[in-house]
Structure formats: C-alpha cells, structure tokens
Amino acid sequence: MASLVFILVVVIDLFLLASSRLGAAIRTVAIQGALLGTLPILLLEERHSLGHALVLAVGALAIKGFLIPWLMFRAIREAAIRREMEPIVGFVPSMVLGGIGIALAFAFSARLPLPNGLSHAYLVPTALSTVWAGLLLVVSRRKAVNQVLGFLVLENGVYVFGLLIADFMPIMVEAGVLLDLFAAVFVMGIVMFHINREFSSLDTEKLSALKD
C-alpha cells in the first residue's frame, strides 16, 4: 500500500513537469500533499506512537492539502492567468530530465549511507525524485506561480526525507518545518501580488526590466 503511494507521488512529479495548466497543477500539488499526509499512518510501526503520527498526518493534510492551495488559487485569481506558455526548459526536456533523475534516484539510492530509520525501500528514492522535480520546476518555469509550486514540491520532498527520521525528530521541529512552508508561501503571495500590480503579468522575466 505504501509502495503505491510512493509511486503515485513520483508519477505526480512527472505530471507536474509536463503540465501547463495552472489550475490543474495547483490541484495536483494539493493531491500530492494529501497523499503525503497519509504516509505517517501507513508507515506506522509498533514502536511509534499513534498520536504523534496522527498529528503529523492531519497537520500535513490541512496545510498542504487545503490551506496552501487555497492561497495559491487566490493568487492566480488576482493575476487572472491560466497557463504557462513554453517554459525556459521545454516540457519534453523537463520530462526527460525528470525521468533521468528519477531513474538515477531509484537505481542508486540503495548505496547511500543513511541512518537505520529506513522504513521502506522506496522512501529515499521518492524523496530524492521529488526534490529533483521541485528544483527543475523552480529553475525552468517562467511564471512566478509555477516557481512557487516548484518550491512546494521541493518541500514535499524534504518532508518525505523527514519521515525517515520521524522517530528521532520531535514534534516541534516538524511543526517548524510546516510553519516555515506556510510563511514562505505567504511571502511569495505578497511578492506575486506586487509583481502583478507592477507589470500586469506574473512573468518573472519582466523583473529584469527593473535593473538599469
């Protein structure tokens, strides 16, 4: 069951790399966040506390699955944009690069020296793939909204890594991660509002017009 969730997370990464419709992309990131929310419960073993896992799961579901997508939808409603035109790295090369990264992650992650909290064979590769996909999105997309989505995906990947050492990490640090995420999206929302107000578009390439 957990394997299927991990595979689905990776497939969502690939879908995001190919998607040009902003609404669909935001909804997909929300789904990915919700899926990741179920993971602490699925990976639960006897020595962990159920309450701890439940809090983590509910927190992730609420923030990643509902709150942040809601903020994003508000941002794009203000800017009235619907699509990403051809990004800096085209859709097909993004997919191919993402695929290569995923293949390498799955093939070689067994050799990484990691602490023995390894609860599932697919955990580390999924985390690496999601981080890689997030980085690709941040680097190659033109619209600020897509870059924020890339950052969200990156955080999702870091979250999966965090599950690796969930028994060692106290709840405070996990809450800190989620709060950091929330704050970053909030700040980005403000920035996007200002970019849009200045240029009537969310194309970040227009920012270079600001320099002299």
Binding site: I7, V11, A18, V92, F106
Partner: protein
Amino acid sequence: MLLRTLFHLAALLALPPLVVGLVNRTKAVVAGRKGPPLLQAYFDLAKLLRKGAVYSRTTSWVFRAGPVVGLAAIASAGLLLAMGGAPALVSFGGDFVLFAYLLGLARFVTALAALDTGSPFEGMGAAREVTFASLAEPALFLCLLVLARATGTLSLSGMLGPALPGAWGEAAPALVLAAIGLFVVALAENSRIPVDDPNTHLELTMIHEVMVLDHGGPDLAFILYGASLKLFLFGAILSRLVLGHAGGGLASEALFFLGILLFAVGVGLVESVMARFRMVRVPQLLVGASVISAFALVLLLR
C-alpha cells in the same frame, strides 16, 4: 489444444469489427444518443466489399498495394498474439519485436499510398502519422520490456501467459504503470482521442482518416478491417495484462473476452470525456508515456 488455437484464430478474425461497434456504442450512450447497431461495422465491410473501385490518375501500383500489404502485415502480427493465456500460433523469443515491426510495415505502406495521391491533405496526414508513430515506438517497446522483465520470458506467449498473473504479486506498481503507458500507446497507434479524432470531417484536423481519404470499395474495406484488427490486438494485450487469470481453461478465456469488452468501453469513455490535444501536445503525451514506462522498468531493476 489445437481446438483452442483454432478458436482463438476464429475470434481474431471475426471479433474486431464488434470491438469497433462497442466503442461507437459507448460514445453514443455517453452522448445521450441511441447510436448505430453493434454490428454496423460488419455491414459496412460487406457493403464496401461488394463495390468496385475508382483510382486517381496520379496513383501507381503503390496505391493499390498499400491496403493489401497493410492488412496482410496486421494479420500476420495477429499470428503472434497470445490470447486468453494460451500460447499463440507462432511464438519464439523476441517475437514482440517482429510484432511491433509488422505494425510498422503496415504504417509505412499506408503512408506511401497516401503520398501517392499527390494531394497535400494526404501528405499532411502521412507526415503527422509517421511523426507520432516514431515517438510511440519507444513507449511500446518499454512497456513490452517491463512485461518481459516482470515475467522473465521473451516471447509474447510467455509475457501474456501463465506467468503474468503471478508477476502481479511483486511487480504490481510497475505493471500498473506499464498498463497506463500501453493504454496511451494504444490510443496513439489506433488514432483515437486524444491523439486523433476518428469522427472529424475537417481534413486539416485529421491524421489517420485523411491518409485513407482516397481509398474506396474493397481497399477501404481492407483498411477499416485492418484498423479494427489493430485495435483488437492492443485490447488483447491490455486485457491479459490487467485481467489475467492464473489458471488456464474456461475462466481465463472468459476473463480475456471480458477484458476486451472493458477495453472497448474504456476507449469509448476516454473519447467521450476528453477533447483532442493540440498537435504540439501529442509528442509530450507520448514522451510522458515513455518516461512512465521507463520508470516502471527502473522499478523492476532493483
């Protein structure tokens, strides 16, 4: 055993137009219409086979050879197909390569016949068809490689045989992804939405339909039957992949034909629910299918 093979051969020859009928009926039901009779495709074929032929001045023997060689190639590919868990009529290691290349031969001669008419519409259709087919080939091979690796055999009869249902135990995620990839390839190779619209009347938006625009009479009958046969071949592979039954015998056969029925309904649903992609998006779709199948293969590497 021989009886079973003969039964499969008869099913292979007789059922494909029914599959097309099922797809059309599904689309009609979803659209709220009554739709044509299920056996309409048979009536169409019979009507076309009775007609004579008109050929254009521009065409040569290539135009007349196209439908004949195309149908012969697809039918020969059918000889390699394993149905219902039983081995195919002809099977050997590496036969799926021959299978894919026979379908490629059919496409090649159809494209040549299209270019023979000297019309820009057929040229356009041929150009698009060969482009999308070239991009679909790696995806098809990757899906079949996933099957080969999961079952440990190299022939279609082995990959679709008794080993496949057993392989779901440990290779389930990979096989799911391979099924998705194979479904996308099936849509692309059979010119279905979202790659091509089989019902459009505008030549500029056609791909497969416009390639065969000038064929009529028995030639068109060969082409329509060949297309339905190709759809049946892909449906058979997907049916066995998704609904495979470990034991042999009647249950496995019944599930196999049920799977083809579900495949036809599935294609009809996809065609009713989605719109056709812009031409630029189709390569992205096919590359996406390749990447997903490659990911499935990576999962089986461990």
